[in-house]
Amino acid sequence: MRDKTVLELLQARGVSRRGFLKFCATTASLLALPPSAAAAIAETLGKTRRPSVIWLSFQECTGCTESLTRAHLPTIESLIFDAISLDYHHTLQAASGSAAEAAREEAMKAAWGQYVLVVDGSIPLGEQGYYSAIAGVSNLEMLKETAAGAAAIINMGTCAAYGGIPQANPNPTGAVPVSAIIKDKPIVNVPGCPPIPVVMTSVVAHYLTFGAVPELDHLGRPKSFYGDTIHDRCYRRPFYDQGKFATSFDDEGARNGWCLYQLGCKGPTTYNACATVKWNDGTSFPIQSGHGCIGCSEPNFWDKGSFYQPLSAGIWGDRQATLGTAAVAGAAVGAVAAASTRIRQQHASEEK
């Protein structure tokens, strides 16, 4: 199976040439690439061997895997995922105990230097790393050992990317993100608590298609999904711009669907695709369900003060003064605030 190209694998599943064209066009769209990339994708997939993926779960709640597997995956995405060889994932694999660990070692040996390592969860450094261990091997050791043979690392979720909830104050286990330990491999961060399913599959698909990591921002996130703030794309934005804010969860403003800024929405400082890609098969996202964004794809989101205090009142982000004035003064300033987040994002990535 490992020797087959992705195209051959799809053909073996009964995908016709037209289906393949559709697969390539849809993949290009999914990866936010220009339509002309579809031809390049078709060519690459005709040659690419099935890549091996090893998925390690450390200090985490399994929410990222739940998000991925409970996703209502359209056929095309499931095909992308079928096209990879998920050689080790201790939640999803049938094997357990020493057989599972043997599978990991075998997969590492078979594709040394070429496999993609996916990590969810942070790594505890306290007590020599033994706050969390799998089959007697500490997370720290397992990460170092497995990362050594990886071509690239994809951090799924805020815990692996930035430390997340295990690292939140008072961080009893001394949890750190992957990047604090591994310094010599390309790393992609796919933060979110959990990340959006299609974002997870697309980043893996990007690597599968191009054999390289996508373009990243200053926090290591793919720009195609984390290029804009929630606020930039929020459908409640016209109310923000008009200075119409809900001030409690049951006031007139809330009932009219006004902006949730005063109720603590962290949309203006949070880079993620929830407002466009949405959740549960495109049904909705927190703001559409009446709750402000909690900023879960940003570093230290848990320790930045209350989820229910407006940005202007807290220590969240570095633009509280601007946004505070906007919230109070209302109209028009919103556009400037959004522009300044873009400039900040650009600036930061230029500084990289």
């Binding site: 289906g19 559709k22 066009a25 290009a28 209502h72 056929t75 809330a254």
Partner: protein, 142 residues
């Protein structure tokens, strides 16, 4: 809680965004792409899902492009709808997943979208299949 009444929470933004700037920009780009097709035989396409594309933009495009003569549905890994617009050479192609969710929406500027053309391998297989059927019917004396 006995006196609690169900609350209607309209969480959709009121009214349209009020502009069709993206639609206008797309029309300009279509003009360039169609010129490239006519003058240099270069096909092109625009991915509508990659743009901030609101209902006003869609309305503008639908009105400006109109309906053409061809409408086709391709069934391969879920349906794909292929429509020629009223501007010959511009096709509106929507790919759906098997659950009918739209996966990609493209404006293709081409003489015929590739997904409609029979692939040559498939035609070869078709020839063998047809010959086998002919052989079978000859054999059965029909």
């Amino acid at each position: 809680m006995s006196d609690s009444k169900p609350i209607d929470i309209p969480v959709l933004a009121l009214g349209p965004r009020g502009d069709d700037m993206t639609g206008r920009a797309i029309l300009r780009q279509l003009e360039e792409l169609l010129a490239a097709l006519v003058e240099r035989d270069e096909p092109g396409s625009i991915d509508l899902r990659s743009l901030p594309f609101g209902p006003e933009d869609r309305q503008l495009l639908e009105e400006a492009l109109g309906e053409g003569e061809v409408e086709a549905e391709v069934e391969s890994m879920g349906p794909s709808r292929v429509r020629e617009t009223g501007i010959p050479g511009i096709w509106w192609v929507t790919h759906y997943g098997s659950d009918q969710q739209p996966l990609a929406e493209l404006l293709e500027v081409t003489y015929c979208p590739e997904i409609l053309i029979t692939p040559s391998d498939a035609a070869k297989e078709g020839l063998s299949a047809l010959r086998a059927r002919l052989f079978e019917s000859d054999h059965m004396g029909r």
